[in-house]
Symmetry: C2
Subunit: 215 residues, 2 copies
């Protein structure tokens, strides 16, 4: 027979999976908004960012309730502390997606310059990182968490490539000024999404081992 | 006679003021590193960012201890929850400063282009915002918190000006590619520091009123 604490912990897992799914969705929508002519896509992203913010509050309340009422120790305390940190990073992923959406709303979608292929790859890679990091938390699987952390190199490399390409365009005097600025910022936002996914995976690692890399 | 809870709450205030002072310091150092030829300044910033990270852990432990042992309610619970949020934003300020330091380490200081005046103003404005937001928390002063929130417009305007100037340079074909990229990123990091200071002030507002603007 399961006790109340276990049921609440299971609720926490479900909520985290839901919040992770919202993050994956918003990353996907961001890429779609960048590629399409559809300005309403950007508004959808703003709404999804709000949904992510609300989910963060819900999970935070649940974590604080668990901490106050159940006063967990050792592994369970670590899992709840890790969850509190993970939702902050997930919330930031929503913010970065909203930042990209804001660019799309101001300047319209990217009319398929060469960099959009790489930005598509960044979106795909970061989605995978978010999915896998939540998966690692629920399964408490150290291997998956570490794969996510290593995978961030792929995202960083894509950012560097985009940045170098844009600098090359400026140097040759062929760059569109607004598009260059926008692309650099968009690539940076995706790179940050990768950083947040890495943070999530590092908190998963902490929840399992009790050691955080930052320490 | 003051009880243990009050003493712990006072310790929390002292620690927050110290963490705020570290943030102000690191913002100041960042500007100095940008202006000087001294590459070691960037290393100092990295160290300060680590000190901020450690401080965050300390304050977080203290908050969790307060929550678990004292089970505060109403105003005190809000103050501690707000502190937990504020330190996350302060920690991010350290990260942004470290991001700027990384650019300085890679490409050296900015050799006084026109934008450095504005970047200096951004540094000054964001320092003030951090100082005032912590001051608002300790004094529980709603007026000061709201002034910080409004002051973010100054930082945003400076960012827009820098961005427009850089775009203009690209358009005229006179831009230095690397410096353009670097300046845009540096300005963006300062703009983000302003956002985090605003977040801190919003949490102060929440700790006083029980209402958060995001809700």
């Amino acid at each position: 027979m399961r006790n109340k604490f276990d049921r609440q912990l299971e609720k926490l897992h479900t909520e985290l999976i839901e919040m992770g799914a919202l993050c994956e969705k918003v990353i996907g929508e961001t890429y779609k908004a960048l590629m399409s002519e559809d300005i309403t896509a950007a508004q959808t992203i703003m709404k999804e960012d709000n949904a992510i913010d609300l989910k963060e509050r819900d999970i935070e309340s649940l974590c604080l309730k668990l901490l106050l009422q159940q006063q967990p120790v050792a592994g369970d305390l670590r899992k709840i502390s890790a969850a509190l940190k993970m939702i902050t990073d997930m919330e930031r992923i929503g913010d970065q997606a909203a930042d990209i959406a804001e660019i799309v709303q101001t300047t319209g979608s990217l009319k398929a310059p060469a960099q959009t292929v790489r930005i598509g790859e960044m979106a795909k890679a970061t989605r995978k990182m978010v999915t896998d990091s939540i998966d690692a938390y629920v399964k408490q699987d150290l291997e998956i968490a570490r794969e996510v952390i290593n995978y961030d190199d792929v995202v960083d490399r894509l950012f560097d490539e985009i940045r170098d390409d844009l600098a090359h365009g400026i140097g040759k005097g062929v760059a569109n000024p607004e598009q260059t600025m926008d692309l650099l910022m968009i690539a940076k936002y995706f790179e940050r999404i990768g950083d947040h996914a890495t943070n999530i995976a590092e908190w998963v690692e902490f929840s399992i081992t009790g050691q955080h890399r930052g320490e």
